[in-house]
Amino acid sequence: MRGTLFILTCLTLTMAGCSTTGSPSTGPDSTAAGLDDYVPGPIAMRRLTKNQYVSTMHSLFGADLQFFPPTEVDTRVEGLLSLGANAATITPAGLERYESSARQVASQVLSPDRRGRLLGCMPESPTDADDACATEFVVGVGPRVLRRALREGEADDYVALAREATQELGDFYRGLESVLASWLLSADFLFIQERAHPLNSTSESAGRKLTAETLASRLSYFLWNSAPDAELLEAAFAGELDTDQGYRAQLERLLSNDERLGQGIRALFNDLYELDALETAPKDTSAFPQYTMGVIEDAKEQTLRTVVDHLLTRRADYRDLFTTRQTFMTKNLGPIYGIPVSEDWEAYEFPQEGARAGILSHVSFLALHARSARSSAVLRGEFILDSLLCTPIPAPPANVNFEALEPNSGLGDTARERLAVHRSDPNCAVCHDLMDPIGLAFENFDAIGQFRTQESGVTIETYGQIDETEYDDITGFYPALRNAPRLTTCMVLKLYMYAVGRLPAISENEVLEALEADFDSGGYDFVRLMENIALTHGFRATSGPREAEAEEGGA
């Protein structure tokens, strides 16, 4: 609740700031980057999310690695798993899984056919300890895995562990496996650790600078959804990230790698749009036999491809993500969209004037936010308000009667009629007056996102209203949403929280406003927004370690 109230306050302030049109931004010299006289929120120690854990392993050791993903349950805060991660710890059952995964990974990484990728030396005997070769492994690989430089004497401890394990098991490489496993279980690996320089590193009113290693991890997980690569880490160790010039050089390098930046953008949208939940969203298989696992996988991929194509490849206006008719199709998806498809992932353009435009007309969104056998205007409306417009809707009263909502309730042929009955109760109307007009715009799409014009033999009406803008049908809704000021305000806020891994402090309101002004004046260029966030003082500094009491303050 505290978080919710805070977001609303923040939103109001930011929207106020939105009316002042910022001077044209020139990226690195954006208004937001120029602000540096505030103390940002505290350190955000985050448990790697399931997706981050997997992508970190892959980027360190290769995408062909086989291992069990974590069993820990990631939870959402403000709609983001990456924010829930800053409260999560490690359970006994979760650690058990991490340990088996660590052993699986270590034994593959040091198997005869792969070990050459990481290890330049050979032991004198494969069955005996070899401190020199073990040291080379420890010093060469340890910092990459731990995402930090080794402390004094630390390397010796790992070499000792390797020696002990080798003696016990009679195998030099199994000795190294145990060292690698210990890194993969360390709190430096399982959590994204953040460290700050002492207070005197900046002025008292600006908080403390984050260390170069911390910046490397922040940048890498924000932009690439993975651990820093060797070059970024080297730059951190060499002190380059402590200078503005060196920091910007690495930032530019990360932003210019389309492949990896694309992965980062996918991870963000996967999180924000809850696309991992699509796999387990229940569907009535007797009513929708055509909704197969292939459809589910392709539906998620379709949206992510469209997002990356739009925001990164085309560098198009973020807002047009909700109106673009460009997308990609597969043979699995063709029947759901009612179109012939000859080749998987062919570029496809939804017909002009048709009911489909933008990623909210995709099967992924429509099927995820629906019931198992019928559409749900409420779920769709709620997601858009909550996750895209940062307007959280309170939970319904406990004993709400949903009878009226059923197609066979006798209380109306269409969802619109049935919801009207429902909204006649003023207690319900408070929230449903917000959700329903938005969600009902999507009633032309059924529980799995197939187009329809009728429900129970009656023509479906999709008119509605968002803020002050009225629309006649879904084709009017898309531009209305696109032009809603809250849409971009909310994206700035979500992306900032995603980047720093925590809620913003009150002191960061001004920078959020400035970021939005920059977004505004820069043509809603998403990559530039990412860049501007990485350049803010809030991204590069902190108030310091997070104290338990700080939670009361909303940090």
């Binding site: 359970t91 939970a395 009667n401």
Partner: protein, 445 residues
């Protein structure tokens, strides 16, 4: 499943999709050399479990009209405890107050019951749950401090390690089998015991992890230090697990190596969900008999469940909202079928625990299993009159066979009673108006 089983003859399960019966050792009170210690002292360990079923019951068909012992058995309750009545206490009329938080009806009641604190959002995990406190007392020496399972695919069985951290639950019986009975598991007395050097190395790895992570502690603020403490606790628990594997396993008469489940179907049709549940129960029963764990949490199905009868399109949770109450019957007839299925599943758990003989008693007697639901009358999704059951006396730590009415007091009283019975040093439990210092006196011997 609802077939009444003999008190200790068979462990009945779905292995490889087909029902099989596994004969249990016919030892009763006979112990060989390895079991003498337990036999002599009679000190079978006390065990604890929780069992959650989602959408309540129909009060007129479930709540006894009489209190105390010998309470009457309305039909839905009878389905769950017939034959076990003297060993099951029924708790009715206890509420889950929300401390002014919005009611998230699909999440709040089990969270309040187990954590003593109301969630602020559907995803909020406000603090650790009380089963964790009990596991800290009785689970510290076993290989697994606690085993969590879920029959309907939900990620956790409502247990939480700490704020923001639900405990992950196994959703696949095969995965549970491999975790408990796979590599490293050995039945005591079967063959000469040789400690595995690889396990010793795994222990060294964990010591190294602790040593290296200590340096981090001083850099963290108090919030993150608490989280790191949990991480250390988990590492120590794993060390303990490895210690157990390095010791010769005790020769427990009821312990045996079960067959690996040959297949599983994790679909959401009722038959599959019940099969999954029952297979979990079989494996947990053997895990308890082999003293691999002393604490477990089972989620049969969440409140927001999509479990369905075969060939029907509407899941249970939808039915509870949508189905009309039959005025002649006074309940929702379609939804009611799920209550019966849930009570069948509960009785299956009691039957299996009772099939393991431990001295003069059974595993059920040495266990306290706490069943709780997310609402009373399904259609209301209310937070009052949450039904609860406690089966077994945990080796005499609790009175059984009673019907106790809570008169609107908080379900946290059950949590307090159980914690105190297992020796958790706690005198008050719960947040603000959930808080209580009054255990349920009738249950305290």
């Amino acid at each position: 499943m609802s077939k009444k089983l003999g008190r200790r003859r068979v462990l009945h399960g779905m292995i490889g999709g087909a029902a099989v019966s596994v004969g249990l050792p016919y030892f009763d009170c006979l112990f060989n050399n390895h079991g003498t210690a337990l036999a002599q002292t009679g000190a079978f360990p006390a065990r604890f479990g929780t069992w959650f079923w989602g959408c309540g019951m129909n009060p007129a068909r479930w709540v006894p009209t009489t209190e105390g012992s010998g309470y009457d058995l309305p039909p839905e309750l009878a389905q769950g405890i017939d034959g076990f009545q003297d060993r099951v206490s029924v708790l009715t009329g206890f509420d889950t107050p929300l401390n002014g938080e919005t009611n998230h009806p699909h999440y709040a009641p089990p969270t309040v019951t187990l954590a003593g604190q109301a969630p602020t959002s559907p995803t909020d995990v406000p603090r650790s749950t009380f089963d964790v406190e009990i596991a800290n007392i009785i689970g510290a020496s076993t290989r697994f401090r606690v085993l969590d399972v879920t029959a309907d695919g939900q990620g956790s069985a409502w247990s939480a390690q700490s704020a923001g951290t639900p405990s992950p639950a196994e959703s696949s019986p095969i995965a549970l089998y491999q975790r408990v009975f796979g590599t490293g598991f050995q039945v005591g007395g079967d063959e000469p015991f040789v400690p595995d050097p690889a396990v010793m190395v795994r222990k060294s790895v964990l010591s190294s992890v602790i040593d290296q992570t200590k340096a981090l502690e001083s850099e963290l603020g108090s919030h993150d230090r608490q989280r790191l403490d949990q991480y250390f606790t988990s590492i120590r628990q794993l060390e303990n697990q490895l210690d157990v594997l390095l010791r010769e396993p005790p020769d427990l008469p009821a312990c045996f190596m079960p067959n690996e489940p040959g297949g599983e179907n994790l679909a959401q049709e009722i038959t599959q969900v019940i099969d999954t549940h029952n297979l979990f129960v079989d494996l947990l029963t053997i895990a308890l008999a082999c003293d691999q764990t002393r604490v477990f949490n089972i989620n049969l199905w969440r409140i927001f469940t999509d479990v369905r009868f075969e060939g029907e399109s509407t899941g249970y949770h939808r039915l509870t909202h949508d189905e009309f109450v039959d005025p002649a019957l006074g309940y929702q007839p379609l939804s009611q079928r799920f209550v019966i299925k849930a009570m069948d599943a509960w009785r299956y758990l009691l039957t299996q625990l009772d099939s393991i003989q431990e001295g003069d008693n059974t595993l059920l007697d040495n266990t306290a299993v706490f069943a709780h639901s997310g609402t009373e009358f399904p259609k209301d999704h209310g937070t009052k009159n949450i039904p609860m059951l406690i089966a077994g006396s945990a080796g005499g730590r609790l009175n059984t066979g009673l019907h106790v009415r809570g008169a609107g007091s908080s379900t946290s009283r059950a949590a307090l009673t159980l914690q105190q019975a297992f020796g958790v040093p706690v005198v008050t439990w719960g947040d603000r108006n959930i808080q209580t210092s009054s255990p349920i006196g009738e249950l305290v011997p």
